[in-house]
């Protein structure tokens, strides 16, 4: 990874965020920039892929390469891009609706591939951009326009599912603490393999339950517990289920021992796919033809 000196200013996009004042997405944007500065990542070395939603507008608000894609579909785009250009840092930023709702299947499968992508999920426990319907992470009983009597589904537990699905880096951050979040993002980018960073991101307009205060009253940092070992899957499983008065943030789980998807593809050993010469040598094609005679 590059180690140039990069300033916050260099990462400034000409585009003004359209987020509501106070939205948790600002904290995430800030943390992402900090992480790039800390890692010395220059704008052209990073590729952000997002879905559709409030938070998914982030790629426009940072100077870097970006792709605002479809609701729920950034993950496979990121995978295709990364395999074609694997010396780029690839970061997915999408909403809880994108990733835990409509895009759940892509998520389930990218985790077991351990591709080297950092995945930041803006978990505001609500559908922001479509004006406040409940999200897969909304707490049971959450009242919204599409659940006027309160939801009757149990929420998705992203940390537990990520553990079960084979993610090799699993963390949770809070957009109200961008410094801590930046640190998680730095570690996620440094991690060789798929890194999930689920981020509590208050939606100040639609989610009147899970507010900054609500989170602040409950969250604590796993790294403050000296006994917590993120290499221990059983411990991570237990912590994944902690929800209520105390809710952990930080790194739940790391496994540095598995090869990445890219490392297992021989075609990528030499140089990135996009740099490879095309077409193939005519002799090779002619030789293949002979197999059909």
């Amino acid at each position: 990874m590059a180690t140039a000196t990069v300033t916050m200013k260099e990462l400034q996009s000409p585009v003004e965020p359209t987020w509501c004042p106070g939205c948790g997405d600002y904290g995430i944007l800030n943390a992402v920039k900090r992480a790039m500065v800390q890692l010395g990542l220059r704008p052209h070395e990073v590729f952000f892929v997002s879905g559709i939603g409030c938070g998914s507008k982030l790629p426009d608000y940072i100077r870097a390469n970006g792709f605002n894609s479809l609701h729920g579909r950034p993950v496979p785009i990121a995978q295709g891009f990364r395999l074609a250009h694997h010396d780029m840092v690839v970061i997915v930023v999408d909403g809880d609706g994108d990733n835990y709702g409509i895009g759940g299947n892509h998520w389930l499968h990218i985790m077991r591939r351990n591709i080297n992508i950092t995945h930041i999920v803006q978990n505001n426990m609500v559908y922001g951009l479509t004006k406040g319907q409940y999200a897969p992470t909304s707490m049971k009983g959450y009242v919204s326009t599409t659940s006027p009597e309160g939801t009757i589904e149990w929420p998705v537990n992203p940390i537990a599912i990520a553990l079960a699905a084979g993610a090799t880096f699993i963390a949770r951050g809070f957009s109200g603490d961008p410094k801590h979040l930046a640190d998680l993002i730095v570690k996620g980018i440094q991690h060789k393999g798929y890194a999930l960073i689920d981020v509590f991101q208050p939606c100040v307009i639609f989610n009147r339950i899970n507010t900054y205060d609500w989170f602040r009253e409950r969250i604590y940092k796993l790294e403050e517990d000296p006994n917590y070992d993120p290499h221990d899957k059983a411990m991570a499983w237990e912590k994944a289920h902690e929800w209520g008065d105390r809710i952990p943030i930080g790194i739940f789980y790391i496994n540095e021992e598995l090869p990445t998807l890219e490392e297992q593809i021989p075609a990528l050993a030499e140089k990135p796919l996009y740099q490879q010469e095309i077409p193939p040598r005519v002799e090779d094609l002619e030789a293949l033809k002979m197999a059909f005679v």
Binding site: L70, I77, G80, P280
Partner: protein, 596 residues
């Protein structure tokens, strides 16, 4: 005696090796310098049921199969029941003499010669394995055809030699020899059709449409394939997987079809030629992403290998039912191109061309095929696939790759705008990675810079729509090709078709002309965009034109009418899942012409 003009069919249960025997036999015949056309018919099950494989042989190039056969090779009794009526007088059936339910009298009544053979016995006694019965059957066929056994033997050696060790190959060959001798001795004198090698014939490939598409993709420099298995596209994907190591291609089996095309969009965005392949059901799932490719101007190729629907329909059979769907698939309005190769050769060249069109116009390109074209084999001259030509024609359009520093420095005076408004609608494309071309693109309506147009102005919207759609006009002008004619120059009737109908229609045209009706064919490879005024001129010059396609609603006819207002004088459809064939077309043409 009829020399080198025979049509035979192998039939049996799934799992009995009907297809592999048929293809092996066809390959052997091609090695003898003869032309073959082979077509399969199988059910959506892995064992049991009834499958068949039909091979037509001739000294001239063949484009289709015909319903009438001279020789039936039956791996089970049902094959005889099902196909007896297809055999011409003087034709024969080879089957195992242990089959109990065979009604020899009924066979003879039809003027067909029953040729029971101790196939299983030979397989067991000589080969030590009952499963070699199919080798025995093919060899017996060679016996009555008096076809030099060394050709099938060479195929057996190539097939088994590589995979299962030569011991098995040798045992198969011993089985073949025994069956051959026995059949020749018993029956050769009764059978009128013979196969004789052509001396000094050029070497030929025996290859199907999907393999040809794969060759086209390889030759065009495709480096990334992501797909989810779906008949009849799977074999194309599997071909690419098999070549991935040798050619340094990344092939990814995706979790679903959305992921397939989206991974390709990601790879294409990075500057890599990529395609996904699927059938109608999977294509349905790709519609939303196709629209994204249209919006973001990402050059991605999708092969749509059709089969009969709706829903799962007849999943191992053929149809051309998805044209209008694919031409309109995806929400909103965006440019795309669609090509429908009709022959093995076209599969090769059009697949390569699809990548050029996609990159030149920065838009998705759909390549249609179907189960019939995908799986039918033909003998093709080696030089019919001209890799140098394809290589020399590679056109990546306005693409500069991010490591092409100098080019970028030259091109960028002003800062980079991915969707710069330019006359022809086609903006400079620099995939991410260069410090001078850092940008973000969006499926929302965007500014020339690529950012979401947060002001959503009318002017930007109108210009962006116009920019995108203008590419279609330019493509229609510069790159798209009018339908091609074949047959009589001054035809009384023109058969208009697209894609895989090429072969059957071409042969139908030959037959019609031979029978004295002046006919020709107008075959569409390029379906969209097109210069429709010119198409209308062509059609207006036809005395009478009849569309021929494998569907119920007459989709090509509807498409032509939508674009020209012209109505086909009649339409011939087939929607039973079975491929078109020349006889069917000639018969139905007579019917519809009688009505017109």
């Amino acid at each position: 005696m009829v020399k080198n003009d025979v049509n035979f069919k192998l039939g049996g249960e799934a799992g009995q090796g009907v297809e592999s025997s048929g293809m092996g036999f066809a390959r052997a015949i091609a090695r003898a310098g003869l032309h073959i056309f082979g077509v399969q018919d199988y059910m959506s099950r892995i064992r049991g049921g009834h499958n068949w494989y039909q091979v037509r042989v001739s000294e001239r190039t063949l484009y289709a199969h015909e319903p009438k056969i001279q020789l039936l090779i039956a791996f089970d009794e049902r094959t005889i029941e099902d196909h007896l009526h297809e055999i011409v007088e003087g034709g024969a059936i080879i089957y195992d003499e242990s089959f109990k339910g065979v009604d020899e009298e009924a066979i003879k009544m039809r003027g067909v010669i029953p040729m029971p053979m101790p196939l299983i016995k030979i397989a067991e006694e000589v080969g030590g394995n009952k499963l070699m019965m199919n080798t025995a059957a093919v060899a017996a066929a060679c016996g009555i055809l008096e076809f030099d056994l060394s050709y099938p033997e060479s195929v057996i050696r190539d097939n088994f030699g590589r995979r299962k060790g030569s011991e098995i190959a040798e045992r198969n060959i011993r089985v073949a020899e025994a069956a051959f001798e026995e059949a020749r001795r018993r029956y050769a004198h009764l059978f009128d059709w013979k196969l004789e090698p052509i001396p000094n014939a050029p070497k030929r490939m025996v290859i199907n449409g999907n393999q040809a598409l794969g060759f086209g993709a390889l030759a065009a420099g495709c480096k990334f394939v992501a797909s989810y298995p779906m008949t009849p596209a799977s074999s194309l994907f599997e071909f690419m997987c098999a070549q991935s190591k040798r050619f340094g291609i990344i092939t990814r089996q995706s979790e679903d079809e959305m992921s397939g095309i989206l991974q390709c969009i990601g790879a294409a965005h990075a500057g890599v030629r990529a395609f996904a392949c699927t059938s109608g059901g999977g294509f349905s799932l790709m519609a939303e992403s196709l629209s994204l490719a249209g919006s973001t101007e990402t050059p991605v190729v999708v092969v749509l290998a059709q089969r009969p629907g709706p829903a799962t329909g007849l999943p191992t059979r053929t149809g051309q039912e998805d044209m209008l769907f694919a031409l309109h698939a995806g929400h909103g309005e965006f440019p795309r191109a669609a090509l429908a190769p009709g022959t093995i050769e076209q599969c090769f060249y059009e697949m390569a061309r699809a990548f050029n069109i996609a990159e030149k116009y920065q838009m998705p390109v759909i390549v249609f095929t179907d189960n019939f074209l995908a799986n039918s084999i033909r003998s093709i001259d080696l030089d019919a696939f001209d890799f140098r030509k394809v290589a020399s024609e590679i056109d990546r359009g306005k693409l500069i790759l991010p490591h092409e520093n100098e080019k970028i420095e030259q091109a960028l005076l002003d800062g980079y705008r991915r969707y710069e408004f330019v006359e022809d609608g086609i903006s400079l494309r620099i995939p991410p990675g260069h410090p001078k071309a850092v940008y973000s693109v969006a499926g929302e309506e965007h500014l020339p810079e690529g950012f979401i147009d947060w002001e959503e102005t009318i002017e930007n919207r109108n210009r962006m729509v116009q920019k995108r759609m203008r590419k279609l006009e330019i493509a229609a002008q510069n790159d798209m090709r009018l339908p091609e004619s074949y047959g009589h120059e001054d035809a009384e009737v023109t058969l208009v078709c697209w894609g895989s109908a090429y072969g059957p229609v071409r042969e139908a045209v030959d037959t019609l002309n031979h029978n004295g009706l002046r006919a020709n064919m107008l075959h569409f490879v390029d379906l969209h965009p097109l210069n429709w005024d010119q198409v209308a001129d062509v059609l207006n010059n036809c005395r009478s034109w009849v569309t021929v396609e494998s569907n119920f609603t007459g989709q090509l006819a509807r498409w032509i009418r939508m674009n020209t207002g012209l109505k086909a004088h009649a339409t011939i459809g087939k929607y039973d899942g079975r491929p078109l064939n020349p006889t069917y077309i000639v018969e139905h043409l007579q019917e519809v012409l009688a009505k017109v």
